[in-house]
Symmetry: C2
Subunit: 230 residues, 2 copies
Amino acid sequence: MPLLYHHPFSAASRFVRLILGEYDEEVELVETMPWKRDEKLLLVNPAGTLPVFVDHDGVTASGALVIAEYLAETRGARMGEVKLLPENVGDRAEARRLLHWFAVKMHGEVTDYLATEKIFKRLMTIAEGGGSPNAAAIRAARANIRYHLQYIGWLAARRNWLGGRGLSFADLAAAAELSVVDYLGEVPWEADETAKAWYARIKSRPSFRPILAETMRGLPAATHYADLDF
Amino acid sequence: MPLLYHHPFSAASRFVRLILGEYDEEVELVETMPWKRDEKLLLVNPAGTLPVFVDHDGVTASGALVIAEYLAETRGARMGEVKLLPENVGDRAEARRLLHWFAVKMHGEVTDYLATEKIFKRLMTIAEGGGSPNAAAIRAARANIRYHLQYIGWLAARRNWLGGRGLSFADLAAAAELSVVDYLGEVPWEADETAKAWYARIKSRPSFRPILAETMRGLPAATHYADLDF
């Protein structure tokens, strides 16, 4: 069975788990803390970052964007409706633009701040960078998320899914980021009904179930987190 | 003719110019300063970042990694030897891992610091973030580049090209980053002969010529910059 080195609250790892769920692919999850020097992780990915996918034949793909392309090439081709990348090259460029928007830009402006300050710093030792959260970083994330939520709403009002007509990597990347932020109760859903309706649609997909079941000791999920009619 | 919104000293833009050169594709270059609010740029790429490629049929691809995939899909297929992505899916994942390593990790740890502090801050107004360079950022980049140069040497000693048997996006991404740093005379070539020999090979390709001809008023290139036997 393929392996996925991941962390339950790494948005990039969640994105890959959603892809695997949509492609109906079973995987063995290896929980990894990327802030610890982990020789097993460094052996498969010298960058020491998550996620890393090791296929059943040993082929390794490192990093969420690389894994997404790899899975599209190895699994997507055999899928019918749910390919996650459009057929047309121009539409693919648009889906990838939004994939990068959410996985890189939104991640850096919102999720990374909130996950680091409110989750990872609790798990890290002081030497690893743990400690009390940085209020300025949390404030920045809270301001930035409104703009990203609005962009999701804007896209969802104009298209069937964020990246175009079909469900794509763009939706899964956006949903993965939001799912981490939503666990923390930090998504101002009342600010955009269209974004909320899009998220409700994607949240009810079977691929999302394992993510909604994640919990962290000492930090319970926001009450509506696993609720499909939030 | 396709358009490329670029900046001569943006490593990501140089990477795409190298791809276009290797694919023997002519393009009209539109020089853009991404730190200025540019309505034309925002219209084609809401993220306001470089590079952006607009194909002759109007299809737009934003961001170097998205453009690379788009060009591989639209131009790479018709190329013989120089496809820039290997045929085998596992080898593609490895070439893409290194592409991301150089375009994201090395860029963030080395090139972005040096280009921002030593080039872009000269071109920016104070309100845009211009001013005197931050010595700590330059020191960090100078420490980090040794590790990246060593990794390039390690790869080049084991493989024909960095990403495997054939020239790939991995080489072009690494070379694009190094070319900006080398303009500034900040690559410690004496530290790794193997990396230097690899760079001499890629530097002598015709796709590299326009990049070696770039100059900036008030900031001449390091004396060996355009020299193929540096």
